[in-house]
Structures are given as structure tokens and as C-alpha cells.
Subunit: 118 residues, 2 copies
């Protein structure tokens, strides 16, 4: 079986649009993914949704919205895919925004709900 | 003719949800409204959309999304309605968020596009 490791398109820093970035962040599951990436890049397989029964296609779509808005980078690495927040690009275009969102997400999940159950 | 000045419901500070706030801010027209309110409250009639042909019902809906998410307050004042950003509530719940969005919106409109044409 051949694994399909493809380079996906990412918007350039100059192409990032505030409304798109905010929309990508406006969903609890997508916020959860971003929160998991707050401490550094993760392999796609390490990134979990709070509901483990979510289909893989749904997870892929959540990643796609985040990537196309320029919030995350999704790159092939070995046989997997490496996800990371585009902090430098976001900070350059929208200073303080991603930091405030990550801070708020930490607050939202202060009750321990959500991710990192496995 | 009797003007209908009604008190509209607003979520309490503790009820504000990050995803809802980000969603409310994820639309160019709604961002434009928020930008106009950045320097202080405005009467509804002073708040203009970039496209003057937008129906009044659309404008009302944009205001509703912003109000229901807790981004703006929409209160009766005299014969009109007074709109304001709920800065204290937003700052208390999501520190730095509304400031970074307003800063970024200023950047987005640095080309002079958008509002304040009248």
C-alpha cells in the first residue's frame, strides 16, 4: 500500500484575511484543534477531537478550513502529516489575535472538558 | 405614528462563548459595524454598511448576530437605538481579543475601502 503524502496549498501571509481567520476559529472543534497545537506542532494522528466518534472525513474538513484560512500549516512529514499554528504569519498580520484566542481557549477549557483524554 | 422602542435581550457576561463571538466577527460587514463603533457608541442611524443598497432587514440581522453573541449592546435611546461594543465584558472574558480584532480591522481598511463614506 502506498501512502499518499501530498503537499497541500497554503495561502501566503499577505493573502490572510481577518474574516476568514475568525471564521476558521469560530467553531468549538476547530478551536479545540488549535488549542492542542498551542504548545507546538503535532502529528495529525496525535490531534484528537473531543468526540472520538467523529468521522475521519469530518476531521479532515476541520483541518482544511483551518489550513485554507491560514491558521494552521499541514505538511507532509515522513509517513504522516505535521500540523502547526502559523503563529508568525498570524502575528504579523493580526497582532495579538492568535495569542488572545489561545488564552481564551485555555479559559474555556478550564473545566477540563474537551481534549487530551488520550 | 408610534415608534417601537423595545428592550432587546443580551447575554450576560458569563454567558459569552468564544466561538460565538468569533463567528459574529467573522463577516466583513459585521466587522465593519464593529469598526465603526470602535471610537464609541453610535446611533443605529449613524452606522452604515459599505454597500448602501443593503436592505434594512440585512442590517438588522447583522446587528442581531452581533448582539446575540454579546459583541455589541443595542439599547433604546430616545427615539432611536444606541449601539456600543461591550468592551468591558469582552475584555473580562477574552482578554485582548476585541482589541486585537479592532487593531486588525484598522489595518484591513488602511486602503480606505469600506465605511465612513457618509
Amino acid at each position: 500500500m502506498k501512502s499518499e503524502i501530498t503537499e497541500l496549498p497554503h495561502p501566503d501571509r499577505a493573502e490572510l484575511r481577518l474574516a476568514d481567520v475568525l471564521f476558521a476559529l469560530s467553531d468549538p472543534d476547530r478551536l479545540d484543534i488549535v488549542r492542542q497545537l498551542a504548545d507546538g506542532p503535532l502529528d495529525m494522528a496525535q490531534c484528537h477531537l473531543s468526540d472520538p466518534n467523529v468521522p475521519k472525513s469530518t476531521k479532515s474538513h476541520l483541518m482544511k478550513v483551518l489550513r485554507e484560512a491560514g491558521v494552521i500549516r499541514n505538511e507532509p512529514l515522513g509517513r504522516g502529516r505535521r500540523l502547526s499554528i502559523r503563529r508568525d504569519d498570524l502575528e504579523a498580520r493580526f497582532p495579538g489575535l492568535i495569542g488572545s484566542v489561545l488564552g481564551a481557549v485555555g479559559t474555556v477549557h478550564a473545566d477540563g472538558s474537551g481534549v487530551n483524554d488520550r
